[in-house]
Subunit: 385 residues, 3 copies
């Protein structure tokens, strides 16, 4: 229903209902994957195509393949910090241009596939830098790091393709860890804050404030973009809602699960309040429940289980990497989603092939029409073999 | 011969010899893989099948796929510590039930395949906990950790299947390390003892006691179940003997090799005395010499080499992980056995396909009958191609 | 042209030019891969074949598959330190004999394939040992470590073959790290110097000396053999030149790139002066620009990019492993070259299949004759499919 918005409404009885329906349909055009925009842009200027690709790349960080969501997120980042917004956009551009120069397929590039890793690298470099905003030298490693992501993306995809696995944000996680290792806290050119492990070194002395934890749950989604303020985080949630309400639900559930996991392991209160405990759970829950599998109740439970495992793995990795002052980034959710995609058994029949992933609402309606056909096809195959 | 016990003895000349033979055959029924039990259990209650599966799962930790061995081991653990025995059994049950709920093949589940990782996770959680016995909250992570093993087992098998490699205890090793990382030594809910690296930080001051090292060699087999007492370790050795004498031989040889490796690297004396230096060697030697390859003298040498490499790798990993207070678990033997299974060259002709692995004695007799057939088949293939 | 040296020169007008041409052709016989030597040696004594294999193995550390280069390098090492030269040669021999004993293909063994990992292990054990030269007990771990490389080489090749990737020096890097972890700095039998991370813990106080950095650039190539002296390093450069001038160019460019990367990250000055910052860049640049791809300007840029990424990765890994006193060895270049070989897209058409890798000059001339054929073949395939 959500996705059939551009289907014509026939035989509307009342004109007011018809108009309301038309407006609604018009609005729905801006939700979901907006594939119709691609067909519309096909014969437009390449720069415009690239701009749409950049916005898609920005939004794909939070798994929402929608250029309007991307625009909202850029605004949210600019609201929170113009310098971070600049860095992020530059990161997307740098990696997309590298992809073009190294001869990647230009349709893939304008789809924004090579953008999100570069954006995250540039954002996290900015967030971890202790040289303050508008430290222009940082643009150098930001561009170099974003460009490296393209190579890594390409190489990893050769290996992961064998199992039809997405490369996801493995390049970002690798590059940012290597950058932080390369520079170290006292580097004269690119200093950065060392990260503390989430596990409390001494018992938390203050009492836990429930309202702050609730706040942290919302900030958990903002932390995907290293954003720690409330209003921009709400705008980012709005961007996710624009893409798909089911996705928003999974984001909030995942973030809440992350808070629970953090509480059960008695992590430092700052981790809970800032949302750092939540964002891996949110990403894991969104990927499993929203994108990689067709939504239903079994998959929803799997997504919640995935969010729990992601969150615990995040605490574990955070404690390990924290011993050398490194953050755990989004390693946890990336690894867990990859492992969940490798699951065999009855769950595979809900798995969506990597090249057919779209907004969850579309996946559900697509799966309904597609299941009988597939079953018939399977029967045919049985007969033929 | 060992395995042909249920073949009828025909034309026995002396009746006394015949009776002796019958008794022997009856006894031999309880050794090896006891596949006949599976056919007998097929139409029994599912709970009984599950109980046999649990016992198989318990014994498969030490690679012995025999429910009676499993029963002996549960008794040995209960003798050493009833709390550990409870934890271990709960771990097997938790992971087997998770496997059933998530829709794994029920025949695989009742074969105990999903049990041993869960058991090890629960046992090691108990052994590393510093909250003392009967700390009931520990059942929570034990169940959750055991359940996670099932997911991990399933995902890893998708990848490792490409090379016909067993998943082995990779899930256990991963989950226990992550649990220990998650909680940390000072966790208010789940505190645990940090592990010291095996490498001595300062020269061993006391003289080495040879008798203690010999004792450590036996304890090395008990350490597979985190059991550090002599009598239960002997019972565990008995359980291995019941499965296969060749297996017992390899266990003791491997443990001895581990002691030698530990001595040559001057590890702390406690590591030698407690058997911690021996158990990776034992596991490596048993896997290579007993299960994965058909036993002969070349394979025996390979098994000894594997035990040496496993033991040295264990010391290396122990020193590395010990810097952050983590144990090396059985990573060393698991990795080395996996690498040995990847060997190409003349050794591959003794490798047993993963789904045909049985007790070593059966493998030998099976291989004898199977070699000519295979050669003939290979010739056929050559002709056809 | 370089490789067509043994083609007869017909119809030379002037006899002096003809003689000069003949002499040149004679000299060119000793350059490149010297495949003709293999055909000449075929029916010679096995010991002689093995000796040639040892020399090839020695040279293949620096990617030059030429026995004369190997001889030059052995001389260079003996010049720098006879003990290291002995260790290195013993390492090659130990691993080649292990390969023969474990039933590897003897043609592969005499080609030196199993030698270079063993040599590096033995050399690095000697270089890191703090027990001084001529500490005879070191021969024990050197032989054992070199032998282990053969197993690891074989196992890894089973996995990497799927993607047509070379095993390269992964076994060396693994074995030496494990050896250093196993022994630890205070081991009573095999003590070694802990390695400092390249990142400066406090700002470099002295000014940078440009001449020393230039010197470090040359030493960077010597550091491939853990050699820190000028004259032997020049001899090693000569050995590379004998194999291929293009290779030498890439070695120097790569080493220079490594220096630049080190400067940009403000590493300790000793790392620059000793050439430690350069050798990963050199190895990465040589592999990508020389061996794995057909040389042209695009590939040259790729090689420079690869050298940069290798050098930064080396600093990152050095900082990480330095926290536990370990060196980063040549992990960086090995990983980056492997990833570059996995690249998809337009670069793949210059990639040389693993079993056809020869000296870069030969690759270029071979590629010229081979491209039209391949294109024609591709067309045929298109028609047929």
């Amino acid at each position: 229903m959500w996705m059939d918005a551009n289907v014509e409404v026939k035989g509307a009885n009342g004109s007011r209902a018809s108009i309301r329906q038309h407006v609604l349909n018009g609005l729905l055009l801006f939700t979901g994957d907006m594939r119709h925009l691609d067909t519309y842009m096909q014969d437009k200027l390449f720069v415009l195509q690239l701009a749409v690709g950049v916005l898609r790349g920005v939004a794909m960080v939070t798994l929402a393949n929608n250029p309007l969501s991307g625009a909202l997120i850029v605004i949210a980042l600019a609201w929170s910090s113009p310098w971070m917004s600049l860095l992020g956009t530059l990161g997307v551009l740098a990696s997309m241009l590298t992809a073009l120069i190294t001869g990647q397929d230009s349709a893939t590039v304008t789809a924004g596939v090579h953008g999100y890793n570069g954006m995250l690298v540039a954002l996290l470099m900015g967030a971890s830098s202790s040289a303050g905003d508008w430290y222009w030298w940082l643009l150098l490693p930001a561009c170099f790091g974003s460009a490296t992501c393209v190579f890594l993306y390409n190489s990893l995809s050769s290996v992961l393709d064998r199992w039809d696995l997405p490369v996801s944000v493995f390049p970002f996680n690798t590059v940012i860890i290597l950058y932080l290792l390369c520079t170290g806290p006292n580097n004269p050119y690119f200093p950065h804050h060392p990260t503390l492990p989430p596990g409390a070194l001494e018992p938390n002395k203050t009492d836990l404030i429930a309202a702050e934890v609730m706040r942290g749950m919302v900030l958990g989604v903002g932390q995907i973009y290293a954003c720690e303020e409330m209003a921009p985080s709400l705008l980012i949630l709005g961007a996710v809602l624009l893409y798909s309400p089911l996705m928003l639900l999974h984001a909030l559930v995942g973030s809440a699960v992350g808070m629970l996991a953090g509480l059960s392991m008695a992590v430092r209160h700052e981790c809970l309040y800032s949302g750092l405990s939540g964002f891996n759970g949110a990403l894991g829950c969104m990927s499993i429940g929203g994108l990689c599998f067709v939504f239903n109740w079994r998959i929803h439970l799997l997504a919640v289980a995935g969010a729990f495992i992601s969150s615990y793995l995040d605490i574990a990795l955070g404690n390990l990497l924290g011993t050398v002052g490194l953050p755990a980034c989004s390693w946890a959710s990336t690894i867990i989603v990859t492992l969940m995609l490798l699951l065999t058994g009855s769950v595979t029949m809900y798995r969506i092939p990597r090249d057919q992933v779209m907004a969850p609402e579309h996946n559900v309606s697509f799966h309904r029409s597609w299941k009988p056909g597939k079953a018939a096809e399977a029967e045919d195959t049985d007969v033929n073999n």
